[in-house]
Amino acid sequence: MIFSFFKNTRTKSPTNHPQFWVDYVAQFSKDQNIDIQSKFIVLDTETTGFDYENDRILCIGAVLLEKGHISIKNSFEVYLIQEHYNSETTPIHGILKKEKKDKATEFEALKNFLNYIGNTPIIAHHTMFDVNMINKALSRHGIPPLKNKLLDTVALYKKSLLRSPLIERKDHYSLDELADKFNISKKDRHTALGDAYITALLFLKIYKKLKEKTGQVTFKRLFIN
């Protein structure tokens, strides 16, 4: 394994990637066999807006899902120091005012995040948005994009719908809309960790629906990457 050499010597790789990235990549060496009993990271980010170039991540929240269990101790929540904060984008999530929270630099946050997720598959709601946001942040520090397998609760929900002329399919289903449909409490909505928790429950409920519909769920076919 090429990376093991660098890992042992604790030097930077020739491409000047930081050590945590090297360690992160090293975990993707072998094929993963994934089923519902596997570990999943359920992720949500709060951002200053929807523009990948100009907007920034305010907070990353994630929970670890394993065999239907969410371990609170093993959840992840980090607030980012806003260096390029644009005062025109007034606080949406109330995060900016919470100055008391421990905050990390973008680089620190990404490092901790990658250490946390390792090679675990990621679940999110409209996953590509969160992942693109994180990848943009990574690239600002000269780091390549995430390598984890990705699942999207919106895509899964669409798959779970009956084929019926009476059902209108939409492209977008908001987290609020689906939380209502599946009777999930919306407390802590619009905090990254709160949304990650809601998404985790949503995933479990949609999985159940999918299983009822198709009998067997093969994750390989559900990944969006």
């Binding site: 969410i70 449909k181 299983k211």
Partner: protein
């Protein structure tokens, strides 16, 4: 690491004993260590005899059924905030019962190692746990009946229908409506009317000194003995019979009999010298018995929260099970249970109407469609419903639709909370397509009938069995008239409907040729609904529509009506009616057995006799389908 989720968990726990005896800081520390577990319906937490887990459980959402061998009798149903699985951990013994999710459930798993130090350190927690273990109820403070956690299993099968209720604690109402000795009679009578109660407590310095019941109003005011301008003290019955909080059903009954009263007052220490905390009426006791439809109806109508209705629904289920076991005829059973189910829906609508900011801008009617519309829904399945509102707008440009959609969303959610799952095909009043003004509905049904494509026939077959559950039924009557007028003009629709009724032929026989379904989860089971009930329902619908008979929705009743209309086919129709009822019974029994909709029949669970019965219905279905094929010349469509 404290975070958003641990805050939320701590916040939840602090509302329930024994956690409410801990400071929020301590709860936050405990919360960090908690695992959150999600369970499907029937998901197993632990089996009887399993080694104790390293954590005990608190129900956050949903419900957990605790069952005990050998009869698998449910000894307890834990819902939000209830603790279970703690005693084996404390006593270091194996689990004495099985814990399974009764419905979709979220659990908080609290590691015993984290909790134990607090339980040992904090005396009140220790006492709470001791009491709850000793009193055999999970929560000695619980006001409602909690079942016997370590109940000896009852000997006879039949006893299971009515569980031993006499040593249960009475569930009493904590919401005390009271008045002062000087309160005017009209005022207190109004308070009773407003709260729909039969008795009001008279307090002096917060202590109960008398009670006024409907009977007092009748005997003392109605007779003219005391003028209506009087005050409470003149008509109250005194003293009040008081009991302590641990009153059991038997004690309450004895107490009422002995003193000839219909209401007992619960006080802090059981004497009239402490604060009143609740009232028990005969009605409450009857409710504990839970097998009387008229009591249940009253309870439903008095419910002020959706959650209360959900609890009453458990009693309805118990009643249904009793009826089935006692062999009460299906016609009666389905009538009573449907009535109760409809009452629940009505109450949910009432409650949600109150939640709207304004009253409805015009009259409307709530329709149950599909099986509920046919009064064939004994168990909770999916909800199918629609709204007709009187007119599009009041001419002020403000369309009514948004109001009714908002209302429907609330009602659909309320129905989901009491156990009717959302319709997977979204045939619900909150769907803009199923929430329309009368004129739009008329246009819709006329279009379906005059352009009978596949979807139109499908939609009609679901919608045409509507039943007005709540509101202005003139609207639905008017729509029925339009349906029948249009049917007369487009007879070809009936042929299409008939063709739809022949879509799924019954299986021809058993096992070798028995068609089992191949769709995943239910692949070893037989789809009772699609293969037997639906063909009969569809057949009854097309036949009754072809006779232009309106107002009979129930499939069995339709066949009975057909038997009188066509004497030459009387025998076939009657056997169809019989088959429908028998199949419905099969379905209901299966549903109770598996705590689901009963749609899929577990073949192995059938006795020989039941198999023969089932097979006989196949033959009947085949015959009725042949009749339809010939009468409506369906083959010409092809």
């Amino acid at each position: 690491m404290k975070n958003t989720i641990s805050h939320r968990v701590a916040d939840f726990l602090k509302g329930f004993p024994p956690f409410n005896m801990l400071s929020i800081e301590v709860l936050e520390d405990i919360a960090v260590e908690i695992n959150i577990q999600y369970l499907d319906k029937d998901g197993l937490v632990f089996k009887e005899g399993d080694n104790p887990h390293s954590n005990f459980y608190v129900v956050h959402k949903g419900a957990i059924a605790l069952r005990k061998a050998p009869q698998n009798e449910m000894v307890d149903l834990c819902d939000e905030g209830d603790i279970f699985g703690l005693r084996p951990l404390m006593a270091q013994e194996n689990y004495k019962m099985e814990a399974k999710a009764y419905e979709e459930t979220i659990l908080y798993c609290i590691p015993i190692e984290v909790f134990k130090p607090y339980a040992l350190k904090n005396k009140s927690i220790g006492n709470f746990l001791l009491e709850s273990f000793a009193s055999n109820t999970r929560n000695p403070y619980a006001k409602k009946h909690r079942g016997k956690l370590y109940g000896e299993t009852s000997g006879e099968e039949n006893e299971a229908i009515v569980p031993l209720f006499d040593v249960q604690q009475v569930r009493w109402s904590k919401n005390i409506i009271s008045c002062e000795t000087s309160t005017a009679i009209t005022e207190l009578a109004n308070a009773m009317k407003l709260n729909k109660i039969g008795a009001i407590l008279v307090l002096k310095n917060k202590l109960p000194i008398g009670i006024i019941t409907d009977k007092d109003l009748r005997n003392k005011i109605g007779t003219g003995e005391i003028p209506i301008s009087g005050t409470a003290i003149e008509i109250m019955s005194s003293p009040v019979i008081t009991y302590g909080e641990e009153l059991t059903v038997t004690q309450a009954q004895m107490g009422m009999m002995a003193s000839g009263v219909s209401h007992l007052c619960i006080t802090k220490d059981g004497t009239p010298h402490t604060k009143a905390v609740g009232i028990v009426s005969k009605h409450d006791i009857m409710l504990s018995v839970g097998n009387n439809p008229s009591v249940l109806i009253k309870a439903i109508q008095r419910a002020t929260k959706t959650k209360e209705i959900k609890r009453i629904r458990l009693s309805i289920l118990k009643l249904l099970r009793g009826y089935l076991q006692q062999g009460i005829p299906m016609t009666i059973t389905s009538k009573i249970i449907s009535e109760l189910n409809n009452a629940c829906t009505k109450q949910v609508i009432e409650l949600n109407l109150k939640k709207m900011e304004t009253p409805p801008p015009c009259s409307f009617v709530w329709l149950a469609i599909g099986s509920q519309g046919r009064n064939e829904q004994l168990l909770q399945t999916d909800q199918d419903n629609a709204i007709i509102f009187e007119k599009e707008s009041n001419g002020d440009g403000e369309p009514h639709k948004s109001y009714f959609l908002k209302l429907a969303q609330k009602i659909n959610k309320g129905l989901m909370k009491i156990g009717y799952e959302y319709c997977p095909a979204d045939m619900m009043a909150s769907n803009p397509k199923w929430c329309l003004d009368l004129d739009s509905w008329k246009k819709n049904v006329s279009y379906w009938i005059s352009n009978p494509g596949k979807n139109e026939v499908l939609l009609s077959s679901i919608f045409f069995d509507f039943n007005a559950v709540y509101g202005n039924s003139k609207l639905s009557d008017e729509l029925s008239d339009v349906i029948f007028e249009t049917l007369k003009r487009f007879p070809v629709f009936t042929t299409h409907l008939a063709s739809g009724a022949l879509q799924s032929p019954p299986p021809s026989g058993f096992f070798r040729s028995f068609l089992v379904e191949h769709d995943g989860a239910n692949k070893d089971n037989f789809d009772l609904k699609r293969r037997t009930l639906m063909p009969l329902t569809d057949a009854a619908r097309v036949l009754i529509l072809s006779h232009f008979i309106k107002g009979i929705n129930n499939t069995a009743a339709r066949f009975e009506k057909l038997a009188t209309l066509e004497p030459n086919n009387k025998e076939l129709y009657l056997s169809c009616s019989y088959a429908t009822k028998a199949l419905l019974k099969f379905r209901t029994k299966q549903g109770i057995l598996h705590h689901d909709s009963g749609r899929y029949l577990d073949l192995n669970s059938l006795s020989k006799e039941e198999r023969v019965k089932l097979k006989r219905t196949f033959k009947t279905i085949k015959e009725i389908q042949e009749l339809i094929n010939i009468r409506f010349k369906v083959s010409q469509l092809l």
